[in-house]
Amino acid sequence: MLREPMGLLGIGLVLLIVLGALFAGLTGYSPSKLAMRDRFLDPSFTHLLGTDHLGRDLFTRVLHGARIALGVAFVATGISFIGGLILGMIAGYGPRWLDSLLLLLFDSLRAFPTVMLALALVTLTGPSLAAVVLVVVLATLPGYARVVRAQTMSLKTTEFVLSARSLGAPSWRILAVHIMPNLIGPLVILVSMDIPVVITIEAGMSFLGLGVRPPTPSWGAILNDGYAFIRESAWPAIAGGLPIIIATLGFTFLGETLRDHLDPRLRQDG
């Protein structure tokens, strides 16, 4: 995997974000302390990305934003992964009425465009990190569950599952030993390909003011501040967009390479 330029680039970009998140405290600036005298400074050695309309160091804010982005990405995809796996297997292997019910629920949730879901939900709950996680889970979980369900149903009729049933193996054993191991791989690929989507949702929601509350630095919020003062200085807007670009591209390249390597359907030799 390391031999492919795209994979290498992906790893590099992701590493940049992860290291940034880890060492965000070492820049010497606070992400939220105001310094009105230093407003709209251009990038320099003291302020790598310049400062925003409140004089805060943008580089520091971007690094702290990485913590939020990665945190949401991993927590929310983790919940979606486990929830999708369990609900999908129940729908695929359980009784038909339950399958119909769950399927209807998944499809109804998928009927909402993600932004609409976010807007409707946050109107009612008010903006918060939990709302962001909830939106991500509601937006991604039904898709995973549907894939898991479809695979479970096709695995259910394979001869090796019939063979286990004919031995008298109970349902939990068939699900745990024969079905789940064949689901995990494809689902991991699917979920890892979705990490950039999750980062986008988080950034998008904070851009709309639906995510974390200020002054907590989130990439979307930085971008929104930059957008508001775009005529004063271009740097805050650039600084807000840059990490989003790096993160989404990095995770996409990584996910693509991962899939090309792990998905047996795409490999030429068997």
């Binding site: 109804s108 009927a111 009612l124 709950t125 271009a234 996409t252 390249f253």
Partner: protein
């Protein structure tokens, strides 16, 4: 086909209904007092009480859901708190702007994306295919609002080539088109990649099928095989995915409208949130969701119509 269409239509109606019910039930499920959230911290207890009565929030949950559902079915989405007009009217005023943006974006991205996908499938493994591949995954990955802001920054603020805000003069189509350029660039760019990848993937799948081998064994020209034999099959799953992708496009359109201060449903909702115009938010969400379900329905029906295996069944 008729049976399939009826089934699919029935399913779309049920899904829309369940989606609506989910939306309405959210008010109940979410902890806290919606009146407090919606009216803001400054509202007096009397105002909140009045609001509750107005919205029917004092009724039992199931009654509320049933009532609301019943009203929605008759086309009554509630009253715009600010203007006292019907929400339906308020939202429908904005729909044409959003539709124009979406269709402009779909058109230009389809014109580039589909041929690009075919090209990549035909020259699979080549350098050009790899470059198209990397560019398309990148364009899918990049959030539309980042593209929108960078585009605004570069082309409007720095270079001054395009207008920054609005949808153009009412009676001036040229001006309107001019105002569409940057927003539809931001909305459509991801779709170019999305389409190219979809077309490429389904073309490759079809080209590896047995009947293509047979067509080759009969000496048919590669051009005939690609356009008459393979594309006709590959287009079927692509159409379905296009329908599903409209959801993404709606999301992108919301951002583009906000960034470019363009009138439209997205901007409407965004503004309604800041003015706590709760019925407008819900009404607009319902209408866009319905529109999205309609798009997937149409896409599925077109795909079914293109497939003789489905078409010939009753």
């Amino acid at each position: 086909m008729l049976l399939y269409a009826l089934k699919r239509l029935g399913l779309a109606l049920i899904i829309t209904a369940v989606a609506l019910i989910l939306l309405i039930s959210m008010i109940q499920l979410i902890p806290g007092d919606p009146a407090a959230v919606l009216l803001g911290p400054l509202a007096s207890p009397e105002m909140r009480e009045m609001f509750r009565q107005q919205m029917g929030l004092d009724q039992p949950a199931l009654v509320q859901i049933a009532r609301f559902f019943g009203r929605v079915l008759t086309g009554d989405l509630g009253t715009d708190v600010l203007t006292n007009r019907s929400v339906l009217v308020t939202v429908m005023e904005q729909v044409p702007f959003t539709l124009a943006l979406i269709f402009a974006s779909i058109t230009w991205s389809a014109l580039i994306g589909i041929p690009l996908g075919c090209f990549a499938a035909l020259y699979r493994g080549s350098l050009a295919d790899r470059i198209v591949g990397i560019l398309s995954v990148s364009s899918i990955a990049l959030p539309s609002f980042v593209i929108a802001i960078y585009g605004l920054l570069l082309f409007s603020v720095k270079l001054g080539w395009f207008p920054t805000i609005g949808a153009g003069d009412r009676g001036d189509p040229i001006d309107q088109l001019y105002h569409l350029v940057l927003p539809s660039l931001a909305v459509g760019l991801g779709w170019v990649g999305y389409l190219a990848r979809m077309v490429r993937a389904s073309m490759l799948e079809v080209l590896s099928e047995n009947h293509v081998r047979m067509a080759r064994a009969f000496g048919l020209e590669e051009r005939t095989i690609t356009y008459r034999y393979a594309l006709k099959i590959a287009i079927i799953p692509t159409v379905v995915l296009l329908g599903m992708g409209v959801g993404n496009m709606i999301s992108s359109a919301v951002f583009a409208e906000i960034v470019f201060a363009r009138p439209g449903v997205g901007k409407l909702i965004f503004d309604a949130i800041s003015t706590r115009n709760y019925p407008v938010v819900m009404g607009a969400v319902m209408i866009t969701t319905g529109f999205y379900v309609l798009c997937t329905l149409i896409a599925d029906l077109i795909a079914a119509g293109l497939d003789p295996r489905v078409r010939s069944t009753l």
